[in-house]
């Protein structure tokens, strides 16, 4: 009988779910209308403000999607506010992941739901993650219930210039609300992985049939591309040259109209240093090579990985560029000490480098805070680990006026958990994004509940 009831419940659940799916379009308008809520106050918790220390028994007030007050227990709570008692809890700003593939891949082994790499060419700066981002992915609700509210979404790393990243928030009524900044940065990957050696079916040191099959080829191709983009821009800006004078006059001021080249055009903001290029390289020599190229063209740089660059950390520090460090779970080389990579965040911090963490593969995105925590065991001060998943990435990505700390005026991305955000044991109890109380459910919680939930200990 009990089983029958479960079946009926399951059926009703599924039908209501299907109905909700079918009527999604219709209800969207209604959703946006009821979005504006009254003030919410969280009180009694331990606040990790990030920018101004820890406040025991503090108060955070959110209204109209923003944080409107942060302070001690005496902080005034507006009339009519919904008050959440967070006694015994820890309250902190939503965590920021500096590289994910969220919304580009559902089941990685299934090509139909995998939009990671565009393999036809290496130079693809005109690919926009924004064009592929699937905001309804089942993965986002799984990740955000662990307190991660914002993330960079980058394409796969098969190409040296694979396309432009987006910066998202992990909730919104549709794609446009979830993409906070489109085309925020351009990855520039420079390592053995981008060579076309494997594709041509040849290994070893001899290179393959397809260019660029070596690092020399990769570097030359990148340099030529950047020069082409500079030339393209120069032509766009210069008046018609004498050799062109016998051509029919263009429509504007008599000058020739340059045919638009979307690929080269995509590079211009990066050549102007308006947006960062994210250099993905692991080995010291690759980091140095890519950096030489970047400095030649005055690119604004964020370094990514540097996992096997232990020998050049002082040099990296001298460049004064931020570093997304990791994954710290990459393997040390044979005969390296077991913690050669675990200790990198601490070593970079010691040298004054601004660091941020990323979780990369979609299967691991919910584990972002634990990489930060584990780095503490290997020399990174705890406060710095916390910053490396909050205010540091906010600064690196140019959104520190809105995100990364519990400060008045910032977007109300706030998390309540039953303990230390960086500890594996901690359970997140509630997440707010733009002040919205996010349902703490997803495909996985529904499966858990459908099969009876977690029985109590015997």
């Amino acid at each position: 009988m009990k089983r029958l009831l479960l079946w009926i419940a399951g059926f009703l659940f599924i039908s209501s779910f299907l109905f909700a799916q079918a009527s999604k379009q219709k209800t969207r308008m209604a959703t946006s209308q009821v979005e504006a809520t009254g003030p919410i106050a969280i009180r009694g918790g331990k606040l990790l403000t990030i920018t101004h220390g820890v406040i025991e028994n503090g108060v955070v007030v959110m209204e109209n999607g923003k944080i409107t007050a942060v302070g001690a227990a005496s902080t005034a709570i507006p009339r009519g506010a919904t008050v959440i008692d967070a006694t015994g809890m820890t309250v902190y700003p939503g965590l920021i992941d500096s590289e994910t593939n969220l919304g580009l891949v559902e089941v990685e082994a299934d090509q139909n739901s995998n939009d990671l790499n565009e393999p036809s060419d290496e130079i693809m700066p005109h690919m926009h993650v924004a064009d592929a981002f699937h905001s309804e992915t089942q993965r986002i609700p799984v990740v955000r219930v662990n307190g991660i509210t914002n993330a960079i979404v980058a394409p796969g790393t098969q190409n040296s210039l694979p396309g432009q990243d987006i910066f998202i928030q992990l909730d919104g009524k549709d794609r446009d609300q979830m993409i906070v900044v489109p085309d925020i940065a351009l990855p520039l990957n420079f390592s053995a992985a981008q060579r076309r050696r494997a594709m041509s079916g040849q290994g070893g040191g001899g290179g393959g049939a397809r260019f660029p099959s070596t690092r020399m080829g990769l570097a030359a191709q990148l340099r030529q591309t950047l020069i082409d983009a500079q030339d393209y821009e120069a032509k766009l800006q210069s008046p018609a040259r004498p050799s062109d004078s016998n051509k029919p006059a263009g429509g504007r001021g008599g000058s020739d109209r340059q045919k638009r080249d979307l690929k080269l055009e995509a590079l211009l903001p990066y050549l102007h240093g308006q947006k960062p290029v994210v250099i993905g390289a692991e080995d010291g020599y690759d980091v140095e090579n890519a950096m030489r190229l970047a400095r030649e063209f005055n690119l604004k740089v964020v370094l990514n990985h540097v996992t096997h660059s232990q020998d050049i950390l002082d040099e990296i520090a001298s460049w004064k560029v931020p570093v997304i460090v990791g994954p710290i779970y990459d393997f040390p080389r044979a005969d390296e000490r077991y913690d050669a990579v675990y200790s990198l965040p601490g070593e970079l911090y010691k040298r004054g480098v601004k660091i941020a963490f990323a979780s990369y593969r979609v299967e691991h995105n919910r584990n972002l805070p634990y990489a930060a925590g584990y780095s503490v065991a290997f020399g990174l001060p705890y406060e710095e680990a916390l910053k490396a998943v909050t205010i540091n990435p906010a600064e690196i990505w140019g959104v520190a006026d809105k995100l990364g700390s519990l400060d008045v005026g910032k977007t109300a991305n706030v998390v309540i958990a039953n303990g230390d955000p960086l500890d594996v044991k901690t359970d997140v109890k509630q997440v707010f994004i733009e002040g919205r109380n996010i349902p703490m459910e997803n495909r996985q919680t529904r499966l858990r509940d459908q099969y009876g939930g977690v029985p109590t200990a015997r």
Binding site: E106, V107, E108, A109, D110, Q138, R139, V142, Y329, F331, P332, R333, A334, D335, R337, Y338, D339, V362, E363, R366, N367, P369, Y370, G373, Y374, V376, A377, F378, L422, D423, V424, K425, T426, D427, R443, Q444, T445, L447, R448, Y451, G452, G453, V454, P455, T456, A457, R458
Partner: protein
């Protein structure tokens, strides 16, 4: 299922319980004749010298079986745990380790690893390869073992991969990194064999347009092989019976290593470790085990165990799973991180395993995660990386808890090992320190500075599926 068939199946499963016992005596007598391997690995290699007594004192002692002892001590004598308590006087000549402010727990046990096989994980040339023996691929200098030791892992089950329905036989090692191959074998550990079903064998053979390309093919191939083994076993049993009766004319059947290994499965001399993900596959595998009269020791990966946990528990099968890997392939799409605790609370013996050169280095954190997902008690969580994997390997009477009489396999941590923040300070096996974090260089005590082997990429199930690791 009709009542009648249920009843007949029950009868078979009762028979199945009795069969291995009956078969044991017969096969023991057969051992000397055919030099069949017994049900365990080789006995201990002679220790070079008797280790000194070791006393660890003033630590927070996590016994796993009888709670936490504050300011606790553990004494190891002749490589075995001799005393666990609060005040233990140091015997003369004992090495004393002061663990004030530290955590002391049993060595971690990984019951699903493909480390130290130099990539020879799958003999993927035929879906039935039970005579493969992972011992033949075991490379004791793999850096992955060092990294695992630095993460507190003192015993591992090195398994065949999942390309085949019936893969090879496993090797059980103690992670005495720096010693010889022989010295690293877990003495007298039971033998295990790897089975697999689902997407991996489907993909491997399906891509060659061979059987099995479907789950139908998967199980039919397995059934066929077991049927052959049953007949092979019957032929040998008939022969042995004739010999015992003094029949001089009796002709020995032709020996077949494949079928001999499978006959050992039917005789209960091999622990059956099955790679599978889906609930329906657990049911099929248990049904087939009943049909042929053997027992499944554990389902590995088992991401959907929560759907049929009561049935798995009723059959006494354990699971070895990850706390939070998910969605890297279709059969991992219904994973949810409460699986471990849900299954455990339904009575399933649950282990957390790595199947990964990465995760093996921090299985302690995976245990912490089941406190997060499902509110496991600390004892429940610790058991999943110590005593329960020890049971799956069949060595729970020897390792997996801090109890008198067990092997002195102990790890000392600077912080709560169930947190994000803990590092191993010392890893001790049979009462000897093999890793000491305070030492300069690698922190190894027995390593002779030979070059380590092992590629920079230790593939795992997830990597295999995505085609970026070695084919496991």
């Amino acid at each position: 299922m009709s009542l009648l068939s249920w009843a007949s199946r029950s009868a078979i499963s009762v028979l199945a319980l009795m069969l291995p016992l009956a078969a044991q005596t017969a096969s023991d007598s057969q051992n000397s004749a055919s030099q069949n391997p017994g049900s365990t690995q080789a006995p201990a290699a002679q220790p070079s010298s008797q280790p000194a007594d070791l006393l660890i004192r003033n630590g927070t002692v996590l016994t796993v079986t009888h709670g936490v002892i504050q300011n606790g001590s553990v004494l190891v004598h002749n490589g075995k745990i001799a005393q666990v308590g609060t005040t233990i006087p140091a015997p003369a000549g004992a090495t004393v380790i002061d663990a004030t402010g530290k955590y002391v727990m049993p060595g971690i046990i990984d019951c699903h690893s493909h480390l130290a096989l130099d990539g020879d994980v799958n003999e993927a040339t035929s879906p039935i390869t039970p005579s493969m023996n992972m011992l033949d691929a075991f490379v004791n200098t793999d850096k992955g073992l060092y990294q695992a030791l630095a993460g507190g892992v003192t015993s591992l089950l090195l398994l065949h991969g999942s390309a085949n329905m019936i893969g090879g036989q496993a090797v059980v090692i103690k992670n005495k990194f720096g010693l010889s191959r022989e010295q690293m074998l877990f003495p007298n550990a039971p033998r295990s064999i790897k089975f697999a079903s689902g997407e991996n064998p489907k993909r491997v053979y399906g891509s060659r347009n061979q059987l099995p390309s479907t789950r139908m093919g998967n199980f039919e191939i397995q059934r066929e092989a077991l049927q052959q083994a049953k007949e092979y076993m019957r032929d040998w049993d008939d022969y042995n019976a004739k010999v015992q009766k003094g029949d001089k004319e009796a002709r020995a059947p032709k020996r077949d290593l494949k079928l001999e290994a499978l006959a050992d499965v039917l005789r209960g001399k091999l622990l059956v470790q099955i790679h599978c993900y889906r609930a329906d596959e657990f049911l099929t595998e248990m049904q087939m085990a009943r049909e042929f009269g053997y027992h499944v020791r554990a389902f590995h990966h088992a991401l959907e165990a929560y759907k049929v946990a009561d049935k798995i528990a009723a059959e006494g099968v354990a699971i070895a799973t990850w706390p939070d890997w998910w969605g890297f392939k279709d059969e991992a799409w219904d994973a949810q991180p409460w699986n471990a605790v849900m299954s455990s609370r339904h009575g399933v013996r649950v282990a957390l395993k790595s199947d990964s050169g990465d995760v093996v280095r921090r299985l302690n954190q995976d245990a912490g995660k089941v406190i997060h997902y499902g509110g496991a008690t600390e004892d429940e969580a610790l058991k999943m990386i110590t005593l329960n994997p020890a049971w799956i390997i069949g060595v729970d009477d020897r390792v997996g808890s801090l109890d008198v009489g067990k092997d002195g396999d102990i790890t000392i941590w600077d912080k709560d090992p169930l947190s994000s923040y803990a590092k191993v300070e010392k890893a001790i096996i049979d009462g000897e320190v093999y890793f000491d974090n305070s030492l300069p260089g690698l922190g190894l005590t027995h390593w002779k500075n030979a070059p380590m082997s092992g590629s920079d990429f230790e593939g795992s199930e997830m990597d295999e599926e995505l085609g970026i690791g070695e084919a496991h």
